[in-house]
Symmetry: C2
Subunit: 497 residues, 2 copies
């Protein structure tokens, strides 16, 4: 294809080639520097058919060290991807701190298609763009440098390139009906592109690099030049350890949020009552689990709570009669080194269930505003920002129709001590108790503060918190089942409206 999109000739061509070589060398240097400094780089290349995206990408990557980049070609979402929020497949591919990711097309592919085919209502489209802006800001605040390149091509130029491709036996097959249909709707695409610019071109760090595709080499030189400038700036900032984070602004407070102070921990259930109640609820949840599957509703459950509050046993009673093919329990421990090299939300996005399935997080992304805050594993800016990031992520899940339940299993300090001692004395349960548990216990007060702020900051309409009074394990199990059942029933009722 390259031969059809090269226009420059003779002397000016030679100059451009030289420029490309020089810029390429600089980019390769900056790539190594970024890797050393742990700066993830994300380059997306958008543009209509025959704009020369592939050729441009090849010119970008030729000088680079392959140890540090990966090209992803974004096709239409496959079945697995369709069963998740549309940003899922992009979250999964976000680069780690020592990597450069290059996307041929991107999340904008979905958005352009939605606009042109009117798959989404105007309101839904607005929401999708809001999700995209939040996504880009989150990555940026997490340290990622963005380059969004748009290769612009006129209808006439597109027509002539498609004709040239058709005339060449090696490329004729690429000009299929879909390509021709898109060419015929060129004007619609241009409008969709304008909307895209309007929605996402506001701020300095997210500006589109708009380049004329007319001369492939000149386009490459321009793109490389922008990247070299941007990366140089960033590498110097990082060296000076002065990367400015976007101001968090005023965080919302949800005043209807629950509070530990109001929890009545004296509630209990007798063994007999419990058994009866449990059987009825497990049968009901088994049925509702099937219904979620039939209606393709995804569900996310978060279990947070004090050490020894009984999360594991609670989850077990919840899932005992559920079909294991339709749920998964994801325990959240300290991140491994691959996870550490990504945005802290990356590993949770990765675990988003297929529509119709249930994912139960035994501890979760709330670790950021709990353990990471209290133990100082992240900066104050990091955990402050996290409230908004978490709300945005959960809203994103909500837009996809996800049922969301969040539990804090609550016990008091005396009850915790009793349970720690019981574990200590029972050889079969000693493995459950760690040094760390005693240390955490010392910090009850700061944890309590963090928990209360978490409620206030993240008790949203679409993802509310429930405090499960846990001093009596039986009571807590029944309560968790009841809340879960009600949440599913509500979600199903909304769906069938």
């Amino acid at each position: 294809m390259s031969s059809t999109i090269e226009k420059s000739t003779g002397k000016s061509d030679k100059l451009v080639r030289k420029k490309i070589d020089e810029l390429g060398e600089e980019l390769a240097y900056l790539q190594r520097k970024s890797r050393e400094l742990g700066i993830p780089v994300l380059i997306i290349v958008e543009g209509l058919s025959a704009a020369g995206k592939g050729t441009l990408i090849n010119r970008i990557i030729q000088p680079l060290d392959p140890r540090g980049f990966k090209v992803s070609c974004i096709a239409s979402p496959n079945r697995d991807e369709q069963l998740r929020p549309f940003l899922w497949r992009f979250w999964r591919r976000t680069p780690s701190a020592d990597r450069m990711a290059i996307f041929d097309r991107s999340w904008y592919r979905n958005l352009l298609d939605y606009t042109i085919n009117r798959t989404l209502s105007e309101e839904e489209l607005k929401k999708a763009y809001a999700d995209v802006r939040a996504f880009e800001r989150q990555l940026r605040d997490g340290g990622t440098v963005f380059f969004k390149i748009f290769l612009d091509i006129s209808k006439k130029e597109q027509a002539s390139r498609l004709a040239a491709m058709q005339g060449n036996p090696a490329t004729a097959w690429r000009v299929n009906d879909a390509v021709l249909a898109r060419h015929a709707r060129y004007a619609d695409y241009k409008i969709a592109v304008e909307i895209m610019f309007d929605e996402t071109d506001e701020q300095e760090d997210f500006k589109w690099i708009k380049i004329s595709a007319k001369d492939g080499r000149k386009a490459a030189a321009q793109a490389l030049s922008k990247m070299v400038t941007g990366l140089t700036k960033r590498v110097n900032q990082e060296k000076a350890k002065a990367v400015p984070v976007m101001p968090v602004g005023r965080l919302p407070l949800f005043r209807s949020a629950p509070s530990l102070k109001k929890a009545d921990l004296s509630q209990t259930l007798s063994k007999e009552t419990y058994r009866e109640m449990l059987a009825v609820r497990q049968e009901r949840i088994e049925y509702l689990h099937h219904e979620l599957y039939r209606q393709r509703i995804p569900m996310i459950m978060v279990y947070e709570g004090w050490d020894a509050s009984g999360k594991g046993g609670n989850i077990r009673r919840l899932t005992e009669q559920m079909d294991p093919r339709g749920y998964e329990v994801i325990p959240t421990a300290a991140p491994n080194d691959v996870e550490k090299a990504h945005h802290y939300l990356w590993r949770f996005w990765n675990e988003f269930p297929k529509a119709g399935h249930v994912t139960i997080f035994d501890r979760s992304w709330y670790g950021r505003v709990l353990v990471e805050r209290v133990e100082g594993f992240c900066t104050k800016e990091d955990w402050k920002r996290a409230y908004r990031e978490i709300n945005e992520m959960e809203e994103n899940f909500h837009h996809f129709g996800t049922a969301i339940v969040k539990f804090w299993i609550h016990i008091d300090q005396d009850e915790q001590l009793r349970r720690f001692q019981a574990r200590q004395e029972n050889p079969k349960k000693q493995w459950k108790l760690h040094e760390e548990d005693w240390r955490n216990r010392e910090k009850w007060k700061p944890y309590e503060e963090a928990v209360e702020e978490m409620f206030l900051r993240t008790h949203t309409r679409y993802a509310p918190w429930t405090i499960i009074e846990g001093n009596c394990k039986r009571f807590a199990r029944i309560r968790a089942l009841d809340v879960t059942i009600a949440a599913i029933e509500k979600r199903i009722a909304q769906r069938s409206k």
Copy 2:
């Protein structure tokens, strides 16, 4: 569904329940032990429709710590999976050293379907079973403990359970046409299952655990009991550090293999000739790359060679005119901690290209018999066994129609010294030279030995080695292009027969 498959009642039922609880507790203990000792555990549950696989799996996982296991439900392969060798999706899901993987259905699902629908010829089916046996042996030799459970159900029992499910509004939808069609072909399935047992039930460590599905609780007790026995044995072995590896046996020698001694390093090309030859070949490879895509032929290229032999530059010339959406360069560095916790072939299986795409490995799985052997990063048994494992993997790729090219870029010691010195003197290239390179250079002799044995052990008909004489970089680039072009042409010619 559980209610339809429970037969035991009264007193005997109580005993079975108690047995299940006790065994579950033991299994949970063994799970923790396996994790401590770094033993991966793989449990697969096979069985015809309505045999109660889901219920059995739920009984197995209830007592376990969710931090250590994952249930995978194996459906029909999706599009992405269809574009890879059939074992790809299972390799990707193999458990790491601290994990237990539970498969609801498995690779046997593919094999049973192939048998019943006669998708494969008898010879192809034999090959597929050989691939499966190699796969299981490789995992086992890598430390994985296997449990293969087959839940047997009579046609009569199956009919009655399906009828019961149809009668229950919560489960009726699950008895779809596909399930009924499979029920009608019950006899065919039984034959396919017998073939499966014949092909894969030979050796102690791979024996099927065949269980009657008639009584769900008794089946669970039997399965748990087998697992507890097997894991206890293994945990004790590991404690004694005496895990026996399958004998490697006599390794084949491919006498037609190339040898470093025979390479003529004096060959060179002038700049002008090189430029002309390069342009012609790059144009040809661009065309052939499209052809691979059109014909959905996957291609694997391996670049091995001495430090500073020019692999990077060689790959760059190869790919310069290729469409970046159709190839990927995978550089192989030391494994990260996730990779270390898996079988050493796991990460390479993960990178297998979609049919129609090219993956170029800059260093590869041959590290096992080169750097790992020479530096003592693995045991002698490990690298000895690797020859066979590598041949099996490549044969597996070959069965899938993959074009395979393997290069050793060869230079002599004098040339390497010149290049090291040139790097040292050029500030722009200093980053390419590491202390390690000098250390490796000291070990030229043992590396040479390892390289020669690698050729002799892995120069197969389907994945032959080519030594690229690399003292003259220009010559090496043209030579690599020529071999690649010939390999693709050969593959395409075979396809069109």
